[in-house]
């Protein structure tokens, strides 16, 4: 049995079929959560953002334009929610993103090995724009065209922004020790 398309599920959602929306959540909760996690670093924040993303999507499903891909629209919400959540947190804590990233160790952030933590810390040191293209391309797996649609910028800008983001990661002091060893 073939999988029901996003478009068909969205149409059912609009008629009040909550089961159709549940299918969409199951389908996209993992990439949405991982995108939020890489954007924010903290698991609890990522969980909150993922939940807010799906709720906002459901509430505005009536306004969704079917000429666009549902996942592009969903990831756009997720990225924007993550950026806004990060700003609120920084404002609340009174720390810049860089200071907070330096204060939080890799183990505290992700519970992964040291390298993963260092890489995540370096990603957190990027600006929101650079971090978004890294996350969409390397975490979610979006193409340049999808990223252009999600971020509402030309594909050429996506490519140049992605190149600049990688250059900054390469020059990040957080990754210097690891890069020396490789």
């Amino acid at each position: 049995m073939s999988e029901e398309s996003d478009e068909a599920l969205v149409r059912r959602c609009r008629t009040g079929d909550r089961g159709a929306f549940e299918t969409l959540v199951v389908r996209y909760q993992r990439p949405v959560f991982n995108a939020a996690l890489r954007m924010l670093r903290h698991g609890e924040d990522a969980r909150d953002v993922a939940q807010a993303t799906f709720l906002k999507a459901y509430e505005h499903l009536g306004d969704f334009d079917p000429q666009y891909r549902f996942f592009s629209w969903l990831y756009r919400i997720a990225i924007n929610e993550s950026i806004n959540h990060g700003k609120r947190r920084r404002s609340h804590e009174g720390l810049s993103g860089e200071e907070r990233d330096s204060a939080a160790g890799p183990e505290q952030a992700l519970g992964q090995d040291q390298f993963d933590g260092a890489l995540q810390a370096a990603i957190m040191g990027l600006s929101d724009d650079y971090r978004a293209v890294i996350v969409l391309h390397h975490v979610v797996g979006c193409s340049y065209e999808d990223m252009a649609a999600i971020l509402d910028i030309p594909a050429k800008t996506v490519k140049s922004r992605l190149f600049s983001a990688r250059q900054r990661l390469k020059d990040s002091p957080l990754l210097a020790a690891w890069l020396e060893q490789t």
């Binding site: 959602c13 959540v25 996690l37 993922a50 459901y58 509430e59 993963d116 890489l119």
Partner: protein
């Protein structure tokens, strides 16, 4: 760039070669970023928090155009334009108050009109009442005036370029008047008061205004 030339470039610029190596290492690391499992309960929490109502399109906000400055200016311009057109029409076509209603206007009085019936022209003006009887008398036309004059008026009898004037002062006027060479022609009678015509008539046929 061929392999040989790349090797040569790397040998010449060891720093750029090191940069490329580090960049490639970063890209490999990004490509292998681990995916994390979704926290348990996320799906249930999302579904529990969904509103009961089906998602509907946001109700479009009805714009109140007249509150936007550019529409206010447009409406003002349209109003002024309509006023200008109205004024032009009023002057050129005569759109305005009825000609009978002269109160509050500077329009000239449109004179009363009439025609003689059976050779008798009856006049009923505020300044002049009575009759003018016409009769052919050979080559001329003989007129008999039987009038009551309340205000000074002037009677102007015209037939082509021939004009005969008669000033009447208040009181009864009973007199005869001969218009030479008017037997076969139409004679126009104009009653003039204070320099303005207040009545105009033809003695032998209808007047069409």
């Amino acid at each position: 760039m061929s392999e040989d030339r790349l090797d040569e470039s790397q040998a010449t610029h060891p720093e750029s070669a090191e940069d490329r190596r580090r960049l490639r290492a970063v890209e490999d690391a990004l490509a292998n970023l681990p995916q994390h499992e979704v926290p348990p309960g996320l799906l249930a929490d999302v579904m529990a928090a969904l509103p009961q109502a089906a998602p509907t399109a946001a109700r479009p906000v009805r714009k109140r155009l007249w509150r936007e400055p550019r529409w206010q200016l447009t409406a003002l311009a349209a109003g002024l334009g309509a006023l200008a057109v109205g004024l032009v029409l009023d002057q050129q076509v005569g759109v305005g108050p009825p000609t009978e209603d002269l109160s509050g206007t500077l329009m000239a009085t449109r004179p009363a009109t009439g025609q003689a019936g059976d050779g008798v022209l009856r006049l009923s003006l505020e300044a002049l009442q009575g009759s003018i009887t016409s009769e052919n008398a050979g080559e001329s036309m003989q007129l008999q005036l039987d009038l009551e004059v309340d205000e000074e008026v002037e009677l102007v009898f015209s037939q082509g370029s021939e004009v005969t004037r008669r000033t009447l002062t208040p009181g009864s006027v009973q007199e005869s008047l001969t218009l030479p060479g008017a037997a076969e022609a139409s004679v126009r009678v104009t009653v003039v008061k204070a320099g303005a015509p207040i009545g105009e008539y033809l003695l032998d046929r209808e007047v069409s205004w």
